[in-house]
């Protein structure tokens, strides 16, 4: 059992799509619990994240892992019993701020968050500050993620943070920003709690924050 498990985890961590789906079919046909399979998927995604942190994997790898993961989730989720789903770590509201529509980074971050048991509310791109406020009021997330690649959208990030503050919601959330040339200075300028250079860093930070709860 453990051998095939390793084979499965390794196939996914190596992004061998064909093999992953062959083995998944095999497992399901053998009557294996879909939740068990999803647990293995999670383990494999951890390896993918680790390889990214180590500088072995790049964005294309995360994107490919995300593709496989989404296909697997679509396949396995309907087979899960309702009570059998894993516990959520927390909620994240995320979007590319107004004035920018770059979403490659944002979408990868979302996939990684979801793979790590966060519920993600994706507001899409070119998101008006008021939309962030509405989403925070409605979904009560612990974390808000803002993305922008364009330098010209830094002002928009700052404006969004300000709008959240004015709505009296700033203290109940942590704000992470990310994308392109964002750095410590940008974080200060925008008034965010943290900036992250890559998706894995964002997940690690979010997990740390949730543990601190």
């Amino acid at each position: 059992m453990s051998e095939i498990q390793d084979e499965y985890i390794n196939a996914l961590a190596d992004l061998d799509e064909t093999k992953v789906f062959e083995l998944t079919e095999k497992k399901l046909n053998a009557g294996e619990d879909p939740l068990e399979i999803l647990n293995d998927v999670k383990k494999a995604m951890d390896i993918v994240g680790k390889r990214f942190e180590d500088g072995w994997y790049f964005v294309a790898d995360l994107m490919m892992a995300g593709e496989i993961l989404n296909k697997l989730t679509d396949m396995l989720k309907p087979k899960l019993k309702k009570s059998n789903t894993s516990k959520l770590l927390g909620k994240v509201v995320i979007g590319t701020v107004k004035g920018d529509i770059h979403d490659i980074g944002k979408d990868i971050v979302i996939t990684m968050f979801e793979a790590n048991d966060f519920e993600v509310i994706d507001l899409g791109v070119d998101v008006h500050p008021d939309k962030f406020v509405e989403a925070i009021q409605k979904h009560q997330p612990k974390i808000v993620g803002m993305s922008a690649l364009l330098t010209s959208a830094f002002g928009s990030m700052r404006e969004t943070v300000k709008t959240i503050e004015e709505a009296g919601l700033r203290n109940q959330i942590k704000i992470i920003i990310g994308g392109g040339t964002i750095d410590e200075d940008t974080k200060e300028y925008v008034g965010a709690d943290a900036y992250c250079r890559d998706p894995v860093a964002a997940i690690n930070l979010a997990k740390k924050w949730m543990e601190g709860e």
Partner: protein, 439 residues
């Protein structure tokens, strides 16, 4: 090196420029020599300063993008004001294109103020194929099976497949018969063109072309004007990495990056097919504009592992570079994103024959590439956006000292500037004045 020297002498030539004054003529010569020295890895009199100003000239001059994209004289007013006030060593490109042409074509990859964006939007936006805006996909990516169509006949794919996909006004082109079937007297083909839809599509194309010509005339005159004020033009034409040509507006980022796993041979075959077109485009426009420095904005290589970069991105890009170099063109490659993992790979080019713009990690890049190629960059736009003039000056001092060591360096912003504080750009000038002299 002699070859490069000859190319740059021609590039710096003052022929056909009617200078406003003797001083302007002298300044032109000084600036051109400064840039040419840096490109040839020599030590100039002082650090050349040539920021990629993006849309900054507009914001600085209080002109909106919406205004400028219809009234081309405004672009020129903004450019002249900016260059007069900041006196950079080269005329920056102001990326404002003729909106009416895109409007007429109903071109979907570009959103402009009033055309998909708020009227007062400070910048334009590129939309990827397949990307959703407000939940709606603006245009479909090239399909996987269309790789074969492209490989078989790229022109046919571009005319009937690509154009009809990215321009709503050219949708009827999808119904054109393939031109390869054309026989004598052409009446069969011409008959197929005589539908009201196709007629309208050609009319839109002609109207867009006339508008682009109008814009080009204004911009051409403007360039002559700023040259006559004493400012050389650094580069002019643009071509692409074959991988980006397919990835940017055809397959899309997600499409092409997953293709390298799922259909690697197809991606490689298509890039090989594209490479000669990209070379030809660069050489043709270098000749047409009379400016031998041709820009590449490198987009999608940074998403790959170094071995994938080499296999899928670099293998054909380097062919384009080398073909250009062989044809007396100087490639100027903007390495967009973090190129630190690929520095050893791009180092492969012949010494002094290519210029690399470094967006991130320029201090490391200087160590690896600095004695082989002229590098540009060094000033983070985020710093110009958020920091104080004093901090900017301190940073520039360090950049000048470290990056400028032994020449072969042009001070530039890391990314196009668009909206930054003018006082911070003044601080850059101050720093160059104080610390930028070599002797």
């Amino acid at each position: 090196m002699t070859n490069i020297k000859k190319i740059l002498e021609k590039w710096a030539s003052k022929e056909r420029i009617q200078f406003q004054s003797q001083e302007a003529e002298q300044k032109y010569a000084e600036r051109a020599e400064r840039l040419a020295d840096a490109i040839q890895l020599k030590i100039p009199d002082k650090i050349p300063l040539a920021p990629d100003a993006g849309l900054f000239p507009l914001t600085y001059s209080g002109i909106s993008l919406r205004e400028a994209m219809y009234n081309y004289d405004k672009i020129c007013i903004a450019l002249k004001k900016t260059i007069t006030d900041f006196k950079w060593d080269a005329v920056p490109r102001v990326p404002v294109w003729p909106a009416k042409a895109f409007e007429v074509l109903k071109y979907k990859p570009l959103r402009l103020p009033g055309l998909g964006l708020d009227d007062d939007a400070p910048t334009y936006q590129f939309v990827e194929p397949g990307q959703k805006i407000e939940g709606k996909e603006l245009y479909e990516p090239m399909k996987l099976e269309e790789y074969d169509w492209f490989l078989e006949d790229p022109s046919d794919f571009n005319l009937r497949g690509h154009l009809s996909q990215v321009c709503d006004a050219l949708k009827p082109f999808a119904n054109l018969p393939p031109i390869n079937g054309i026989t004598c007297y052409y009446h069969g083909y011409l008959d197929a063109l005589a539908t009201p839809d196709i007629d309208k599509a050609f009319e839109a194309l002609a109207e867009a072309a006339r508008e682009v010509r109008k814009w080009r005339m204004v911009m051409g005159q403007c360039l002559q004007d700023v040259k006559s004020m004493g400012f050389p033009e650094f580069f002019s034409a643009l071509t692409h990495a074959p991988f980006d040509y397919i990835g940017d507006f055809r397959r899309g980022t997600r499409g092409i990056l997953t293709d390298i796993f799922r259909n690697p041979e197809k991606v490689k075959a298509v890039c090989e097919r594209v490479a000669p077109f990209m070379s030809e485009w660069g050489i043709r426009f270098a000749k047409l504009t009379g400016n031998p420095i041709v820009v590449f904005r490198l987009h999608k290589g940074i998403f790959m592992r170094p071995e994938q970069f080499e296999e899928f991105y670099w293998s054909t890009l380097k062919k384009v570079f080398l073909t250009l170099i062989k044809n007396d063109v100087i490639p100027y490659a903007y390495t967009e994103g973090d190129y630190r993992p690929y520095l050893e790979i791009i180092k492969e080019m012949p010494r002094g024959k290519i210029i690399y713009h470094i967006e991130q990690g320029i201090f490391e890049a200087k160590e690896v590439l600095g004695d082989k190629f002229c590098l540009t960059g060094g000033i983070p736009a985020s710093l110009l956006y958020t920091a104080s003039p004093q901090k900017v000056e301190e940073y520039c001092k360090k950049a000048i000292e470290v990056l400028g060591e032994n020449g072969g360096f042009i001070l530039d912003s890391d990314v196009p500037l668009d909206v930054v504080k003018p006082e911070n750009l003044k601080a850059v000038n101050e720093a160059v004045l104080k610390y930028g002299h070599y002797s």
